[in-house]
Symmetry: C2
Subunit: 319 residues, 2 copies
Amino acid sequence: MKESRGEFGLIRQIQQETSVSAEGVILGIGDDGAVLEVPAGQLLVAATDTLNAGIHFPDDTAPFDIGYKCLAVNLSDLAAMGAMPRWALLSLSLPDADSTWLQSFTAGFRSLAKLWNVSLVGGDTTSGPLAVSVTALGTVKPGLQMLRSGARAGDLVVVSGTVGGAARVLDLLQAGEAAAEQHLLDRPLPRIKLGQVISAYASACIDISDGLIADLGHILQASGCAARINTEALPASVVLDGLEDGQKWGYQLAGGDDYELLFTLPPRYEAMLADWSKDLELKLSVIGEVQQGEGIKCTATDGTLFQPQRPGFDHFGKS
Amino acid sequence: MKESRGEFGLIRQIQQETSVSAEGVILGIGDDGAVLEVPAGQLLVAATDTLNAGIHFPDDTAPFDIGYKCLAVNLSDLAAMGAMPRWALLSLSLPDADSTWLQSFTAGFRSLAKLWNVSLVGGDTTSGPLAVSVTALGTVKPGLQMLRSGARAGDLVVVSGTVGGAARVLDLLQAGEAAAEQHLLDRPLPRIKLGQVISAYASACIDISDGLIADLGHILQASGCAARINTEALPASVVLDGLEDGQKWGYQLAGGDDYELLFTLPPRYEAMLADWSKDLELKLSVIGEVQQGEGIKCTATDGTLFQPQRPGFDHFGKS
């Protein structure tokens, strides 16, 4: 939260270009800490995620998209908790104090912050290899927070939107091919409204960052359950059109970075899915079922077992 | 907040080795976000600071000290706000998943977290150049938060402990000389109790990270005032013993990283300083006075003007 001259200019620039709301903000950027008012009767939800150049985004990613995405992945975490985002803190390591770069970065950050009325209330800038760390703060009514640990045998496994698109776009870019729909990788849409709508009904929820199988695995491990997934029920991104089934399912099951919500739903609420989907104009697909035991079995409708090839992304490569 | 296998092990190791308290923690590490309860009638205070290897600490700093310091500098920000620390989130970029390094790092983090009953409630680990970003969350009673903007002409300028020590130790280390009192650089003591005690009386407060002059400058700029500093009243760290006045004052006025509190106090409270000092077993020195106008004038008792040589540390070098 401290900054000297060069830094001070950057922080002030970020502040001026991102300040969009003062709701609950007693004191924002410019002091040693922000002072915030959590509404009475609400719990605070906090999530933090770092994006490193070359690891979480290709080195040549547009600064606008880096600014957008560093906030998006954190809002996605809040969405998966059923929380409403309110405030964010930003730590930015920059190789040099490039004001043009920063202007574009903050424009990206701001475009999403404005959409959800998220106030940037603190942060710091340091010189170093390009890395962005965001802490997002939100609120939730007690009892409505969605955990990973509540899934029970018999629950439906549901996913929002489509999956596999971000990983496919990344593969195309890395192969030097032009990728349509690059927004799938660079500008994921945090499913905040969906999180709000399902929070009273879903038994468990997570957002898909590591890949559907890996993230479903987190739910199942926390809940002590197994699951069966119907590969033919997986909603496919348009960028997977034309791929053969095995390759497509690989992207859908093991590709990361989609930031869709994956949740489990007691079957008595199944009929509500159609209403939610219509209200939110968002596809919601039942892709399988929670079962007793452990592990995840992926099968086609005819019963053929499918083993996805791509492991979920592990930052330390022990897969 | 998401982790896959290799990461998962690191996060769990950090969790096991740092979890010290569950006060106000409805849900800690292991989900998409932490769920926290801010006590009724309290405001939330949030601060974030990143430490990069080679910039904020020498490359060969012991991992224990990095773990300690990354939390300390954030707790120091909360102390300067008059807030009581409660929770922390940690983003760690590591070149490789070195469990021995991490064990030592978390031991350092934990040693300070335990002292102040701070719970680590979230974080992520990524591979990348060594960098540590911490967000500290605390609480303060409404009206007791200390800002930078409340200083008024006539207020006393007060500093806790001693100053200049951390910068002197860093210079000695960088010159390849053995430095006694290396803890001054590596293990600053966040002045949390002092922040609590003075919060109802101090008109402005900041912690000294960039250097006394630079940080006093932040107070004066926010408050629209000037100040006069008596160089002979500056409390000197023992590691400055034997230096000639000009060099000593340089360290005291412009050396950073001391993490003492610098605050302004209406003169009617001056008599309380002795009591606070005794209660906290902490030196509190009146080093000057807030005045009308702008700028900072440093003079010796005989009136000689002193111009410190070392600029406050600017991460982008525009000083």
